[in-house]
């Protein structure tokens, strides 16, 4: 378990905009789990999708500046909640190992990197270092009764030969973490099918079409809510849910939680740190399902029970 370990933290631009609740709740959860985050000082945008679509060296240079900021903290392990940022930072590290690439990047940046860096998602650290079992032990309010559809998006695990996190075709991190919290996790075969990503701005029909498919399938499973780990996915499924509804001529009304928000609830964290009010599709009805049955279960016992069950299902 990572309790006490310190990481550099890269919040990403959306953390102070469209996914402010993800940033807040990620910090809160990490604090509760003993993962110490130190913000990268004066970090810059990783360039997101546009940068790597314009040039890989430019993209890597933007990331390299951030990693250089980590070096000023004496850190070389950086965490970020956002898979898009993760992909850029991770690819920069990977590409810098390729011959000739480093020289190009160094020609663009002020301070070339001096160390080997690793970049991981907050989710990866919680899943691999803290582990769902340990999370289950800390649950004070089980999410019993809540039926969730886990949605991982494209980027976090793929391709496996590069990302080295979880299963590239059937990831389990969110599944197991949510089970550890006591929620029911529905089998969702589209858990990595693309939501449309950044295509919403240029043409929101694309996101509507792709996200709509995901929403339709989730509703057909009888889910109470989505649980996600990506600001862009969350935005497409939540903020653009109405657009998708229009595209398919129907309504969905499916709240889309960040996994950190649900963890915050289960760990009994201060609600104000979870930003549930920031969700566009109102989560009240879904949240009301929590604890409908088995309310009498003692928190600790339920936590342990969940763990066993999660293992059996795995």
């Amino acid at each position: 378990m990572t309790t006490g370990k310190t990481f550099a933290y890269y919040p990403g631009c959306s953390g102070s905009g469209t996914s402010v609740e993800y940033d807040k709740s990620s910090r809160a959860v990490c604090e509760a789990l003993g993962i110490r985050l130190v913000d990268l000082p004066d970090w810059n945008c990783c360039g997101s999708t546009p940068a790597h679509q314009v040039d890989h060296v430019l993209s890597a240079a933007l990331s390299a500046r951030n990693l250089a900021q980590a070096e000023t903290l004496g850190l070389c392990e950086t965490l970020t909640p956002c898979p898009s940022c993760l992909k850029n930072l991770h690819n920069a590290v990977e590409h810098l190992r390729e011959p000739g690439f480093g020289a190009r990047v160094n020609a663009l940046v002020e301070r070339p990197l001096t160390r080997e860096h690793s970049v991981k998602s907050v989710l990866q650290i919680i899943y691999e270092d803290v582990t769902p079992e340990k999370v289950a032990e800390k649950v004070t309010r089980t999410l019993n009764g809540l039926k969730l559809v886990p949605y991982y998006g494209c980027l976090m695990n793929r391709p496996g030969r590069s990302m080295h996190f979880d299963d590239e075709e059937n990831p389990q991190a969110l599944d197991k973490l949510m089970r550890a919290l006591g929620a029911e996790v529905l089998p969702f075969p589209l858990k990595q099918e693309c939501c449309g990503g950044a295509m919403g701005v240029p043409d929101n029909r694309i996101t509507s079409r792709l996200s709509g498919r995901l929403l339709e399938y989730a509703v057909s499973l009888g889910a109470d809510a989505f649980v996600v780990a990506c600001p862009l996915c969350q935005m497409n499924l939540d903020m653009r849910q109405a657009q998708a509804g229009d595209y398919y001529g129907r309504g969905f009304n499916l709240p889309v939680f960040y996994y950190t928000q649900l963890m915050g609830i289960a760990l009994g964290l201060d609600k104000t740190r979870l930003g549930l009010d920031k969700l566009i599709v109102k989560p009240a009805a879904a949240l009301a399902k929590i604890g409908r049955k088995a309310k009498e279960e003692a928190p600790a016992a339920s936590g342990a029970g969940r763990t066993a069950e999660a293992e059996v299902e795995a």
């Binding site: 299963d167 590239e168 075709e169 059937n170 089998p187 075969p189 589209l190 399938y217 057909s220």
Partner: protein
């Protein structure tokens, strides 16, 4: 020593870029060379005659031929010098064609190089010794490992040729993969009708001794004289008493045992006979599923058995046999397709392998030959076949083509239509590989007569939706994505070397390739031999192949065995290692490294010495490179010979 050197022109092949006469002149001044001459085609009849005459007339005691590669004509010229009365090992070659005239443009440089190579050959020859082959007695009996169609063919052919055969099969019944098939391509004839009688032949042939549910514990010895230990696994049923009546299998209360023969498509009893045509038709208890053997109370089968064959106390036991040759026919395994997350990695019951589908098609299968979906027993109407699952896929370490999947998929599409006339089959393929007699016509029939829809493209993902399976793929011929809600998805899972192949290879001391397939002696000219004398290959253990090829190889291996053991004594290659016992200090390093177990420890007046078993030694020379004091020397490649060659090059 009186050495004669013959420099070949090879027409203009050598002479065009090497000054042959200059080489002859240089050779004349080399130590102990008494005769040097050029020759237009040394390997031709007059060329060989010239060598013979020179040996006789000039009393040569050693011959060097500088011509092509020794890998081509060394045996030829050895016979030549032998005809003239020399020992055939008093001969060396210098390769001045492949290594000189064909690869260098500069005539002066080529000539100098040719002279060096001749000098090297002369220096080596000066240290050559007369070697005389030994004759070793041989046991006229063959071990056939594996009772699939290839092994059965090899065993029956050997028995037919008058050879005693010991057959070892790891499963409770022989028959192999073929016994699981419903029909065979391209004739769509019944697999068990073809194979069944051959299996019965094995059981009835007096020359064949069958050990089913057994494995090879160890093999020692060498060609003509292998000592084999066979481990007979406990069946908990005395097969001498068991009549195969099957009563026990009806009464066994433990009915949830994994059915290996049916590829898990059904369940079986803890005591079972794998299938009605099994040979031997004897019952076996799966210990893990047996209530009594796994610690509970039961004993129903023992009570019910009229011949008191059930013996819960039975243990594995080992027997030993002596054989003169071995045929490995251990077949293949299906690759573990669950690495493919995109097809559900085994989570969806209605995504099955082609071999599982065979069991659903087979009248002797768990559904009695009615195609039923594993999930709900419903008859599928839309059946999708995905080809190349685990074949031609470097990302999962299987870059090779399994070779038979295109054909059996066509067959399965045809059979699907036969079984369910209103069904539709979709075959996703990359290329259709059907180069065999009647094969391509067969795949055309699947499409033309049986209306199988062939889609040129891959399936990206399969996922459940309601009680259907959504299949998302592409048709690359129209360049568009395609989708289908299917009832059943059949994966044409490729084959791989059987899991135990490397272990067996090590016991047999044969090599295997990076995938675990056994290596043949030569890809063209020794397809069923291995590099270990007396060990032959048949069927898919050497590389994936279909039934006709497996059978052909079984027969070929049998022919090799019959040829090898047609004599009572075998000649051994004398180019082996030998130990100078005076120098040997008994440190055992050579014994440790010998890949063939050809060196043993002997006690010589209280001192440990190494001793080479010449018939086992394959002549690699690893021992010679290992022995610190140089006590073990490989004949014809001694340290002194190599050093002489080095000196010949460096001092020149």
């Amino acid at each position: 020593m009186k050495i004669g050197v013959f420099i070949c022109h090879c027409g203009s092949n050598i002479a065009a870029t090497v000054d042959v006469l200059k080489v002859v002149e240089s050779a004349k001044s080399m130590p102990e060379v008494v005769y040097a001459v050029n020759s237009m085609y040394t390997c031709s009849e007059p060329g060989q005659q010239a060598i013979e005459e020179a040996i006789k007339e000039r009393g040569l005691t050693g011959v060097v031929v500088a011509s092509c590669t020794p890998r081509m004509h060394e045996p030829t010229f050895r016979r030549t010098v032998e005809r003239a009365g020399l020992n055939r090992y008093m001969f060396e070659m210098a390769n001045i064609r492949e290594h000189v005239s064909w690869v260098g443009k500069d005539k002066a440089a080529n000539t100098a190089k040719a002279v060096d190579l001749v000098r090297m050959a002369v220096e080596k020859l000066r240290l050559d010794k007369v070697l005389i082959p030994k004759f070793i007695p041989a046991t006229r009996k063959v071990l056939v490992i594996g009772g699939g169609v290839a092994g059965i063919q090899a065993a029956l052919d050997c028995a037919e040729g008058g050879m005693d055969v010991v057959m070892v099969e790891s499963e409770p019944s022989i028959g192999g993969k073929m016994s699981k098939l419903d029909k065979t391509f391209p004739t769509v004839d019944c697999s068990s009708c073809v194979l069944g009688p051959r299996m019965v032949d094995v059981a009835q042939n007096e020359r064949i001794e069958l050990h089913a549910y057994s494995e090879i514990a160890s093999i020692s010895g060498y060609v003509g004289n292998f000592d084999v230990t066979i481990r007979k696994k406990a069946t908990y049923v005395d097969w001498d008493k068991c009549t195969g009546c099957g009563l026990c299998t009806e009464k066994c209360p433990s009915k949830k045992s994994y059915d290996r023969f049916n590829e898990g498509m059904g369940e079986t009893t803890a005591i079972n006979i794998p299938f009605p045509q099994a040979i031997p038709k004897k019952a076996t208890i799966t210990a893990a599923s047996c209530r009594l053997l796994s610690g509970g109370k039961c004993g129903v089968c023992a009570k019910i058995c009229t011949s008191q064959a059930v013996d819960y106390t039975q243990k594995d036991r080992e027997i030993t046999v002596k054989v003169g040759a071995v045929v490995a026919a251990t077949g293949y395994d299906l690759m573990d397709w669950t690495v493919y997350g995109e097809y559900g990695a085994g989570r969806y019951p209605d995504v099955i392998t082609s071999l599982q589908y065979e069991r659903l098609l087979s009248a002797s299968g768990p559904t009695g030959g009615h195609i039923r979906r594993p999930s709900d027993g419903r008859e599928p109407k839309e059946v999708v076949f995905i080809q190349c699952v685990g074949s031609r896929d470097p990302s999962v370490g299987r870059p090779y083509c399994s070779g038979f999947c295109c054909m059996y998929t066509a067959k399965q599409a045809i059979l699907t239509k036969d079984h369910i006339p209103d069904s539709r089959s979709y075959v996703f393929y990359m290329d259709i590989r059907s180069p065999g007699k009647g094969y391509d016509e067969f795949t055309r029939r699947a499409q033309e007569e049986y209306k199988a829809q062939y889609i040129r493209g891959r399936v990206s993902t399969v996922y459940p939706k309601g009680d259907k399976l959504v299949v998302k793929g592409v048709d690359t011929l129209v360049g568009e994505q395609v989708e289908l809600e299917a009832d059943l998805v059949v994966l044409a899972v490729g084959g791989e070397a059987s899991q135990n192949a490397p272990k067996l290879a090590e016991k047999l001391r044969i090599s295997y390739d990076g995938y675990g397939f056994f290596m043949e002696g030569h890809p063209k000219l020794k397809p069923v031999e291995t590099n270990t004398a007396g060990v032959y290959l048949a069927g898919s253990c050497q590389g994936l192949k279909d039934i006709p090829s497996s059978v052909a190889q079984g027969s070929a291996a049998a022919a090799k065995v019959l040829g090898l053991l047609s004599k009572d004594k075998l000649e051994s290659d004398p180019q082996t290692a030998g130990v100078d016992v005076k120098r040997c200090v008994g440190c055992r390093k050579c014994i440790n490294v010998c890949p063939f177990g050809a060196i043993r420890e002997v006690d010589m007046r209280g001192q440990i010495k190494a001793e080479v078993i010449e018939a086992v030694c394959q002549g690699c020379g690893l021992c010679t490179a290992t022995c610190p004091q140089g006590a073990v020397q490989l004949s014809h490649f001694t340290d002194n010979q190599v050093l002489a060659e080095v000196e010949a090059l460096c001092q020149s």
